[in-house]
């Protein structure tokens, strides 16, 4: 029984093909060769052959107290057989099995995006033993602490730490960032990323489903099955609907004594498109997201996100990259010489401002910096050094004042301008003369404006920025973006209060944060969106995770959520409409068992094809000129 069951499941498509041939032979005998007996025999064989797999499925479901669609079909087919309608019974089983086949093929397409993700998961690793010998093993056999070797171009099989070698890693599968990152001893590497060059040895910290990549896959897999409220309702409905159809069929028979009519009811009542319509939209929508670096945690997340009207953003690390960079430089004297000197001073510092300046100098192709003697740090003011006979001062205005540096009106104006822009200002004086005024600020994400504008175009009503930063800096960022409200100088708990306030006003709120210090707000909002690299915290707290920290992705996610919800509704409409039409057809008398099954299978394919439109939906690329016009 078991073996037969498995064999039939495996070869169901071949059985379907055999039935098709039998039906064709039967039609040929009947209409071409005019041998009625042969035609009937072919149909009988086709019916029996087709009924076996369907009946077996129905039986095993029944053993587990589930009344399945297969049971309805089995009863209908046996019924048709009893009353001698061999043609009907053969056609119904054939269409049912063929429909299954087509469903399987088309579902493969809707699942393909996630499957391509799963296929990227590493399967084998080069395990290094104590003697330094390597051996290829299955990743499942690896344990924490094992050392694995990764060769150039190879895939990193585990999450771990580099203990030997350096190389450039392509971590696109984890961070969405395809520019290779240089990593050396002590650096963390992620399973699923690739080495562009360099051989490294990695000490394993986690394996398989425990790795960041494994968690991403698990999340997407579960998301595709976690249903939207609509889908859940239909699922519940279907569990009662199928037995109800069976009872109605029996009642029709009891009342009308019309056996053919009763079995036709069973076939027409099959809830095919209804059961598959809503989930298939979700699978396609979530799959599209996953392919574009957007992880949506299930139908619920998609549904809530589509209803969002207020978007609340954190500034640092979300709207901005969280990395400092030089915004403007006012120079008094030889610019190259001044910058080289400043870079030399800042090289000794690990302060983010200093690092931004060193990077700026390098970008300005200043590579040679003068030798400097030791520098003294003046707390809260800056650095003091000596070059030849001159005193070098690098720091804020207080440092300059404390050392009686002359600041002209023109220079004062330059400083004020930087401060009004919300920049942190770094000053350099050599021998009591001010040489440089440098503004440093957190960098705005390059696609922030385009992305936010696209969100508004897609129907978002309000964009609010919350930040712990000072008011000037906050306003400066907000002025450059289509932001409606700014609230600055907030503590993390204040942000939660704002989110709650918006919710009380009746808004559906999405909160976008980097997932670490914003966890309370992420959890409080109707939808928490984690922006930033795939950290565990973000994966756990957020409802939607943007693997690529980009606003393009955010806008695409919003549009995708709306389209997915609309698609689900269309599918439910198609499914319910089909059943209504079939019933009408039955009453009018134009629908019979075979044609009813045919319409059913068509409706199933229609809902799947409708959902497949979501897979191809590409993120909209905005023309930046268009955005500029829209913003002005």
């Amino acid at each position: 029984m078991t073996k037969l069951n498995v064999w039939i499941t495996k070869h169901q498509n071949k059985i379907t093909a055999a039935i098709a041939i039998l039906i064709a032979l039967s039609l040929l005998s009947n209409y071409v060769f005019k041998i009625g007996t042969a035609a009937t025999i072919f149909m009988i064989v086709a019916s029996i052959l087709g009924a076996i797999p369907v009946a077996l499925h129905a039986f095993s479901a029944l053993q587990n107290k589930v009344i399945s669609i297969e049971l309805l079909v089995t009863i209908a087919v046996i019924g048709a057989f009893i009353i001698g309608e061999y043609e009907e019974s053969a056609v119904v089983t054939f269409l049912f099995l063929f429909g299954n086949y087509l469903e399987q093929k088309t579902l493969e397409k809707t699942r393909s995006s996630v499957e391509s993700l799963t296929k990227m998961a590493p399967t084998t690793a080069e395990l290094v033993d104590e003697d330094g010998k390597t051996e290829t093993v299955d990743v499942d056999d690896l344990d924490e602490g094992d050392h694995v070797l990764v060769k150039p171009g190879g895939q990193i099989p585990v999450d771990g730490k580099i203990i030997d070698g350096t190389g450039y890693m392509n971590e696109a599968s984890i961070t969405g960032e395809s520019t290779p990152v240089k990593k050396g001893i002590g650096d963390k590497v992620f399973a699923g990323s690739l080495t562009d060059n360099g051989t490294i040895t990695v000490e394993t910290t986690s394996v398989g489903e425990d790795t960041t990549f494994g968690k991403i896959i698990e999340l997407v897999e579960e998301a595709q099955d976690s249903q939207s409220p609509a889908a859940r309702f239909i699922d519940k409905f279907a569990t009662y609907y199928t037995p109800a159809v069976l009872i109605i069929g029996i009642l029709v028979w009891a009342i009308t004594q019309d056996f053919p009519l009763a079995i036709t009811v069973l076939v027409l009542g099959c809830p095919g498109a209804l059961v598959i319509g809503a989930p298939v939209s979700n699978v396609a929508g979530i799959g599209n997201g996953a392919k574009n670096g957007i992880l949506m945690k299930g139908g619920n997340a998609v549904n809530s996100f589509s209803h969002v009207d207020t978007l609340v953003l954190d500034k640092t690390g979300t709207l901005t990259t969280g990395q400092m960079s030089v915004t403007d430089v006012d120079n008094f004297g030889d610019k190259k010489e001044n910058l080289a000197l400043l870079a030399a001073v800042e090289k000794t510092s690990d302060h983010p401002l200093g690092q931004a300046i060193v990077k700026y100098a390098t970008d300005q192709s200043i590579t040679e910096t003068p030798e400097l003697p030791e520098l003294d740090t003046v707390k809260g003011q800056g650095l003091v050094g000596q070059k030849d006979d001159f005193k070098i001062l690098v720091g804020n205005e207080r440092l300059m004042k404390a050392n009686d540096v002359k600041i002209s009106a023109e220079q004062k104006q330059a400083i004020n301008k930087r401060m009004n822009d919300g920049d942190s200002v770094v000053l350099m004086a050599v021998g009591q003369e001010l040489k440089l005024v440098v503004g440093v600020n957190d960098q705005l994400r390059s696609d922030a404006r385009e992305g936010l504008q696209a969100l508004k175009d897609a129907g978002l009503k309000r964009i609010v920025m919350l930040t712990g930063d000072n008011k000037v800096a906050a306003q400066r960022v907000a002025d450059r973006l289509p932001i409606d409200e700014v609230h600055a100088e907030l503590l993390p708990e204040d942000k939660v209060t704002f989110v709650k306030k918006f919710q009380e006003q009746g808004s559906t709120v999405a909160f976008v944060g980097d997932g670490i210090n914003d966890s309370p707000s992420l959890a409080t909002a109707d939808i928490g969106i984690g922006m930033g690299t795939g950290t565990d915290v973000a994966i756990e707290t957020a409802d939607i995770i943007l693997v690529k920290s980009s606003f393009d992705a955010l806008a695409h996610a919003y549009v995708l959520a709306k389209k997915t919800v609309a698609n689900t509704k269309e599918n439910i409409f198609i499914a319910v409409g089909t059943v209504a039409l079939l019933l009408l057809g039955l009453i009018v008398g134009v629908i019979h068992m075979g044609s009813g099954m045919f319409v059913h299978e068509i409706s199933i394919l229609v809902v799947i094809f409708n959902a497949m439109r979501l897979i191809k939906n590409k993120p909209a690329k905005l023309d930046s000129n268009q955005v500029l016009k829209a913003a002005n």
Partner: protein, 76 residues
Amino acid sequence: MAKAILQLGELTCPSCMTKIQKAVENQAGVSNVKVLFNAGKVRADFDESKTSADKLAQVITDLGYEVLKVKVKELA
């Protein structure tokens, strides 16, 4: 307690899901059963003293579904 992860052949009918779910749940010592329709996976926690992952695989095979791979993870 341990967690079994069973990779099945492709699942095509949503009703198979309910069937597998119920059949696995009905086994002694099994809890937290998740059938992932689209991924074709079954995840379930089970008590090793009462049942085994292979036994769960057998239950699913008996229903007529192919089990491609069985993975067991110890739960702390």
